[in-house]
């Protein structure tokens, strides 16, 4: 197994764990962390595929950098919303439904 494949396989596992965390966990901060895990998994897969031929491919690395920027922005938004929700209502979890 090439090192690229190791990265890619790890990335896939991390991705799956991250998705499971976002969907199944309850505490907002944990879900945000799980989202970051998911993102890191996807990035690892990208980086892993960048090394397939032995020579380094810069395009996936550029994509990962973009992805990291996006993930940071999304995380910032999520944390801000979660903090505000906590300040307003004391809740750290989303309830079942918010409908009538």
């Amino acid at each position: 197994m090439t090192s690229g494949m190791v990265f890619a396989a790890t990335g896939a596992v991390l991705f799956a764990m991250g998705v499971a965390g976002v969907v199944l966990l309850d505490h907002l901060m944990r879900r945000i962390l799980a989202f970051n895990l998911m993102g890191s998994g996807a990035f690892l897969v990208l980086v892993g595929t960048a090394q397939r031929d032995g020579s380094v491919d810069p395009v996936p690395q550029a994509m990962v950098l973009t992805g990291i920027v996006v993930a940071v922005a999304a995380t910032a938004l999520a944390i801000t919303l979660a903090r505000r929700l906590y300040t307003l209502s004391g809740r750290t979890e989303l309830s079942g439904t918010d409908d009538d």
Binding site: V22, T66, L77, A78, L81, A82, R84, L88
Partner: protein
């Protein structure tokens, strides 16, 4: 230099940033001006496409695979026109809707980013660029939902955020797999590379992309985030989201399904339509049962999105199903934005978000009720609206391919829509006590609503134009 492709993306980014600095009142004027100009650009682009065929533009002069290409064909142009026209009317509406406060301060910049993201999405020519635009649209939309600042809206925004992030995360992983297999993400280059028997990684990529985009399109059973988000946000935000944002991901699924992933499509062809049928039934039933007005309209969105996904088993060279899907997307966009706008007006007037509240307000707002009725006519698929044309084409395509049950679902969906639409409309005819307290509503709100609703009905006469435009560089 004045290539409309680039300006359609750059211009909203510019005015959104400036609006952030200028504050809400000047920001609003800037937004309306910017969107007006963008609409002209979109019309210019349409004219160029009709005469010259699909257009491609390399940003900064660097072509693919390292640079970013922008690509416009008939389908992109239709979606661009839809976004600019609805956004313009909603901007005019929102200017008079928002009272000064946190919501209005954040609305204009985020609306600008949302429109910029969507324009870029419709013009994207490679898969990774699509990811970036998806995220931009998603974050802007979440921000808009949360703009009101109340706890319920924040919770709805967080739920939406998690759903949309999972969706784009899956999409990103799929892009990684595709790049790993073929070494390119350009859509045009990929199309001939993916044949009928691709490696496992590509199957996985296709499945992940479909799943991720379905989550973002709120197709049943991934619709859970939509009713609280669209039902709880301020009316112009709900209108933008229901009319436009969910259509963007539908557009992507269509592009990928008809383009690079066409050979794989046969395996999954029944999944979207079965889910679509359930969505139609489930959304309609929930809309019939709910007591809140905006929530009724939000559930209606869940149901109407089901129609869009019915076309996938019917996509065939003669293109009727594609015409049906695009017409439905456009008609629903116009009608749903009108309906949310009307709901917003009625809620301001009656002071509460309840279906019963319509009765008192309706006597004083006949134009708004009429607009709601026109929008309802489109949603029910009754003539003479754009929704009727879409319904006719959909039934025609279903019968042509012998799929009787699809035609039956479409017809049943129309009747169910009639139940919840008339739930609201009948309120307008009830006798109400004269002393009901009605808050005054700016005239602009009523007129913006009416124009949107009238457009969805007049679309019924413009079918030929849309079909002709769709034919430019048609994917099939």
């Amino acid at each position: 230099m004045t290539d409309p492709l680039v300006w359609l993306i750059v211009l909203p980014l510019v005015w959104a940033s400036v609006a952030f600095l200028l504050g809400p009142s000047r920001g609003a004027r800037l937004a309306v001006a910017g969107l007006g100009f963008q609409l002209l650009l979109a019309l210019d682009l349409t004219r160029m496409l009709m005469t010259g065929g699909p257009r491609r533009y390399a940003v900064g002069g660097w072509g693919a695979p390292l640079g970013i290409d922008l690509f416009a064909d008939g389908l992109s142009a239709i979606m661009l026109l839809l976004v600019q026209s609805i956004a313009l009317l909603l901007a005019i509406y929102a200017r008079s809707y928002f009272k000064p406060g946190a919501a209005s301060r954040h609305f204009w910049p985020m609306m600008g980013f949302l429109v910029a993201g969507m324009n870029a999405l419709f013009l994207a020519a490679d898969l990774f660029n699509v990811y970036v635009t998806l995220e931009l649209v998603g974050l802007a939309a979440v921000g808009l939902v949360a703009a009101g600042g109340e706890a319920a809206q924040l919770a709805a925004a967080l739920r939406y955020l998690f759903a949309t992030l999972v969706g784009s995360g899956a999409y990103l992983l799929a892009v990684a797999l595709v790049y790993g297999t073929y070494g390119t993400v350009a859509i045009e280059t990929l199309a001939p590379l993916i044949d009928a028997r691709p490696p496992l990684a590509v199957w996985l990529a296709g499945a992940l992309m479909l799943a991720g985009l379905l989550v973002k399109s709120a197709l049943f059973p991934f619709h859970f985030w939509l009713p609280p988000a669209h039902g709880g946000a301020p009316a112009p935000v709900s209108a933008l989201l229901s009319a436009l944002v969910v259509k963007a991901t539908f557009y992507l699924i269509l592009r990928l399904w008809l383009g690079p992933f066409a050979p794989l499509a046969a395996a999954a062809v029944w999944l979207p339509s079965v889910l679509g049928c359930v969505a139609i039934l489930w959304g309609s039933i929930m809309a019939i049962r709910t007591r809140r007005l905006k929530l009724l309209v939000a559930y209606s969105t869940v149901a109407q999105l089901g129609y869009l996904f019915l076309i996938f088993p019917l996509l065939a060279p003669d293109g009727i199903a594609l015409q049906a899907g695009v017409l439905q997307a456009v008609a629903h966009g116009l009608a749903k934005s009108a309906m949310f706008a009307a709901a917003g007006v009625l809620i301001i007037a009656s002071g509460r978000d309840a279906v019963e509240g319509v009765a008192g307000a309706a006597q004083h707002l006949p134009l708004t009720l009429f607009a709601f009725a026109l929008a309802g006519v489109t949603l029910m698929g009754l003539p003479p609206s754009g929704g009727f044309l879409a319904k006719w084409l959909l039934i025609d395509a279903a019968l042509l391919q012998g799929q009787w049950w699809l035609a039956a679902v479409v017809i049943a969906g129309g009747l169910l829509a009639a139940v919840y639409v008339f739930r609201v409309l009948r309120q307008a005819f009830l006798i109400v006590p004269e002393n009901a307290v009605i808050a005054p509503v700016p005239r602009v709100l009523e007129w913006a609503t009416f124009v949107l609703a009238a457009a969805s009905v007049l679309l019924g006469l413009g079918g030929m134009e849309i079909v002709r435009l769709l034919g430019v560089g048609a994917p099939t």
